[in-house]
Point group: C2
Chain length 591, copies 2
């Protein structure tokens, strides 16, 4: 069975050495001194390593089952969920007013990585709840907040997002679920939703569904959609749990992975719902949930790679096979460990440089969210809005690829379920699909975010890179770091320029390169955070840090990323610059 | 449930228009006229589409089960296997002397693609038998051939390869299974083998295991290994089936995919075995099986992508979601088909250009095997020996990636098992691992094949590309085809040069780039066969071919590959040229 050890030291390195949170001017960050964040991470690690991780394979093997409308989660999930609840982990970054601890979103993300790596399926019940809370916090009435949030923050009640229907996923304008207004101000909701994660289960006394439906008026397409709160059990004004509502799980899907999470078909049969926010403005409210969820999914993508990498590394150190070509490293043993072989190292360095880069990128993104929300900073808000599809799309594509790579290190054993590497691959796969398939992320990036506010946010991004390079280029040790970053950033600028020039005339010239652009952007982001990590490690070494091997390792891994990963940017640029013609030339009937 | 339609037209295009088999001087090829090959392919298609493909998902869902030492294959497998047997499909390319039809290996490969795409797990029982036959044909005594081959060619008996043990897969020098010589010339074989595909099942009256074991003398490592025939039931001199031998399946592995194939732990308890070939020369005999098996596995990699692509394409034409950004294509419907979206097209064109290129590459390779064996051509033998790791490694890495891409086209439905796309991904995954994990293929390519016979074979490969470009560069229509090929081929030459210059001083400088080199090589091979396909299609169009859309489609797809895939070669070269240092710099204890 695979094991998991939370990388608390690496996480705290990003928080303290790279992001320097305790010196930040973001409201609430000054409390985050090194000992405090370390203590929180250690507590999370204890729960993750001791309780959540040992249930990960159990969840995969047992899955969820539906009997007479009741969904039973895998053995042990309920007790583990109770421990997450008892620890107050869900409220970590939620308002004190509703029972939370009001710590930064950044800290919630760092803890999130630990929980997701330990047990992604179990964590999803919490993640969906968190998203539903955000939507109610942002768009709900004060009365709704008071009625629902205390129980949801405490996770006595969990939440869901109900968007997809059998005939539409991406194209929500086709939604058929209907909402009929009632005299008492409520709505009757009828229709069918599919792929509803955590849609029904046995771990909470109530489930608060957020449902996108069509209310009369408002016109066609997504403009006619409104968002509704539809609880599994009706909730009295005093917050008391009442009668069962007209919503039930009709089926659990048999999926490739995340078996521990119940993915349900939800049937709404004149269920009572309450409008959240404005009528026919449901998409806006849904996007609040989705944007947060997308960063959460990006985090899932790399967190699965974190645990897969840990196990691949342990295997490569342990498994004896073949000899170092330079000379035996373990002459008294029957063979040398796999780690001596250059191609095995290449796989491990790919993984290591990705997961550590992805972590720094995601946590930087989380700090931008804090700056935007806590600091009311519209520029930070614009920047994270630009980066969100990159975090989601790039980190899940690459995270999956790295899980496959980790599985490969195991050779034949990687393909056998009892070793657990297959589960990481199968679980990570969903992250490329849900919350907007990665093609949709690329479309969002190129078709919407890039030109948003006159292209201001991408210009701000380039300015950040440029300023960083200028601030550090006097340090000769950084030459091999900053040059590749500069070149990759130039590729990204050329690609954006190509889209501007050509996309106006023919949108397909831009859209055909959208996924390549997302990957090119992702590499520049990882290159940037790796350069920041190298700067931080050089600074620590200069200051006489005791753990020299740790910082030297960071610098070597940074150099690996620059040498071995950043060359991808030129390839993506070449593909982009070939334009839409090669992609669109083939007639539909010639396929 | 996914469907499968054998691409007989595309296969015959490669055989007739690209490889021009009926005009070839390879012995036996002159019989292969267009109607003959079309008729064989159509017969294979009928069986594959009507019988094998409908059992593919059944095999995945039911899997194999072991009860009291007996392995039961999924419902329907036995009857389908009987039909393959009755059709004489296994003997297609085997000697008439033992009941085969003596047709070229090339034709066997074309049929193989069809059977593998339809049902990879079921086909494996046949594929392993084929490999075992080859080993006996090449290394067995005349008496052994007469005793075993007629039944094996007819597939009344199936075969296996027994190499891996719990503590060793790649490093066969560590094998512990023992062979003790007996007075009657036989050996007593004792030990445990794992991951034995088709190791035990209920579809044949006997199973002929080929087992690598250590006989006394012969020294350590792989030098001490010999190859033995160990039948499940002993076989009399007259070929009659006798008593049960001391070999049995101890366990069936729970795997990520290929559930329809029984992957067994095989226990040998003083089983009777007969030496094949020379004592202590077992590795050589095993390589005969492995080289054939490696091309077969490359074929599996792309064949899974063939069927996955077919289904993704059908889904993209059928599923209505969103609108064409240029203007509605299906204005009377609720939305346009997925196929209108550039990023969906990109995914489909990636798949199409890969599978059609991979097919042409593999069949070209198969024709080199025929030229080597039937034509006794040592140069062809050297060339296919060089290309074998590329076929195996590159086509399985990419084939898997394309299955993932095909699954992605389905959005959320791709993750649900009932749609069948997950199975293609899970099944294709094994091909990157078995018959030598792809890192081993890269090592074989760079560490052995590249410099073999003084680098003669890679020089021959470059000469082929060069000659092809020279022969065709007068055609102005080919400019956008030949230029990218020339540039990609130059990248490959630079990489080979880098290895020659640096690898001598430090082998790690070459080995750290081995996987990149394998991929770079694969892209050049696909670029080359795509250019040949474009030439063939222009020729067909010039000759007034009736099916213009087919040939125009080939040319458009060739251009896609050149524009969108070949830019990868520069990236691989850049990574290679960064050398071993970034890969090896990190100290083992700093990981």
């Amino acid at each position: 069975m695979p094991s998991y050890t939370a990388p608390t030291k690496d996480l705290n390195f990003v928080l303290q050495d790279v992001l320097a949170v305790s010196q930040s001017d973001i409201p609430g960050y000054s409390e985050l001194d090194r000992d405090f964040t370390a203590a929180i991470l250690e507590e999370a690690a204890k729960l993750a390593e001791g309780v959540l991780a040992p249930l990960n394979m159990v969840g995969d093997q047992l899955g969820c089952r539906l009997e007479n409308g009741v969904v039973y989660t895998p053995d042990g999930f309920k007790a583990a969920f109770d421990q997450i609840r008892a620890g107050g982990w869900n409220g970590l970054d939620l308002p004190e007013e509703f029972g939370g601890q009001n710590l930064p979103y950044l800290l919630g993300s760092a803890v999130g990585e630990i929980f997701v790596a330990a047990n992604m399926s179990l964590n999803m019940y919490q993640g969906l709840t968190h998203g539903a809370i955000s939507a109610i916090l942002t768009h709900g009435s004060q009365e709704q907040k008071e009625r629902f949030l205390p129980k949801m923050v405490a996770m006595d009640w969990t939440g869901t997002m109900n968007l997809t229907e059998p005939h539409c996923g991406t194209d929500l304008g086709l939604i058929r679920t209907k909402a009929v207004p009632q005299d008492d101000g409520s709505f009757r909701i009828s229709g069918q939703k599919i792929f509803i994660s955590a849609g029904e289960h046995d771990m909470a006394e109530n489930i608060i569904h957020l449902v996108l439906a069509k209310a009369p008026g408002g016109g066609g397409g997504t403009k006619g959609l409104s968002l509704f709160i539809v609880p599994k059990f009706l909730v009295g004004e005093d917050g008391s749990v009442g009668a069962r509502n007209g919503v039930s799980a009709g089926k659990i899907e048999e999926k490739m992975g995340i078996h521990g999470n119940a993915t349900c078909v939800m049937n709404f049969d004149e269920a009572t719902g309450w409008l959240v926010g404005d009528l026919h403005k449901g998409m806006r409210a849904m996007f609040t949930m989705m944007n947060e969820a997308r960063i959460g999914v990006g985090l899932q993508g790399y967190a699965q790679a974190v645990v897969a990498y840990e196990n691949a590394l342990a295997y490569a150190k342990d498994r004896l096979q073949g000899r170092d070509v330079i000379g035996a490293q373990n002459p008294d043993g029957p063979a040398d460990p796999l780690l001596v072989h250059p191609d095995v190292r290449r796989m491990l360095m790919d993984q290591k440089s990705f997961v550590e880069g992805a972590r720094a990128f995601t946590l930087w993104g989380a700090s931008l969210i804090d700056r935007a929300h806590r600091g009311q900073d519209v520029e930070a808000d614009g920047l994270i809005s630009l980066l969100t599809p990159v975090i989601k799309g790039f980190l899940t594509d690459k995270g999956f690829e790295m899980c496959v790579q980790a599985q490969q290190v195991y050779g034949g054993h990687g393909y056998i379920e009892e070793w657990g590497m297959s589960q990481f691959v199968r679980d990570a796969r969903i992250a490329m699909i849900y919350e907007g398939a990665n093609g949709i992320q690329a479309l969002d990036l190129v078709g919407r975010k890039l030109a948003q506010d006159g292209g201001k946010h991408v210009m701000a991004f380039f300015a950040i890179i440029k300023e960083f390079i200028r601030d550090n280029e006097s340090d000769p040790r950084l030459e091999g770091v900053l040059q590749p970053l500069k070149s990759a950033s130039k590729d990204l600028q050329s690609a954006a320029m190509f889209f501007m020039e050509r996309g106006m005339k023919n949108p397909n010239d831009a859209l055909a390169g959208s996924s390549d652009f997302m990957h090119l952007f992702g590499h520049v982001c990882l290159g940037y955070v790796w350069a920041r990590m190298a700067v931080a490690s050089y600074a620590a070494l200069d200051a006489g840090a005791s753990d020299r091997a740790f910082h030297e390792g960071k610098i070597a891994t940074c150099r690996y990323y620059m040498a071995r990963q950043l060359p991808a940017t030129a390839m993506h640029l070449a593909r982009i610059q070939s334009g839409g013609e090669p992609v669109m030339a083939l007639q539909a009937e010639s396929f």
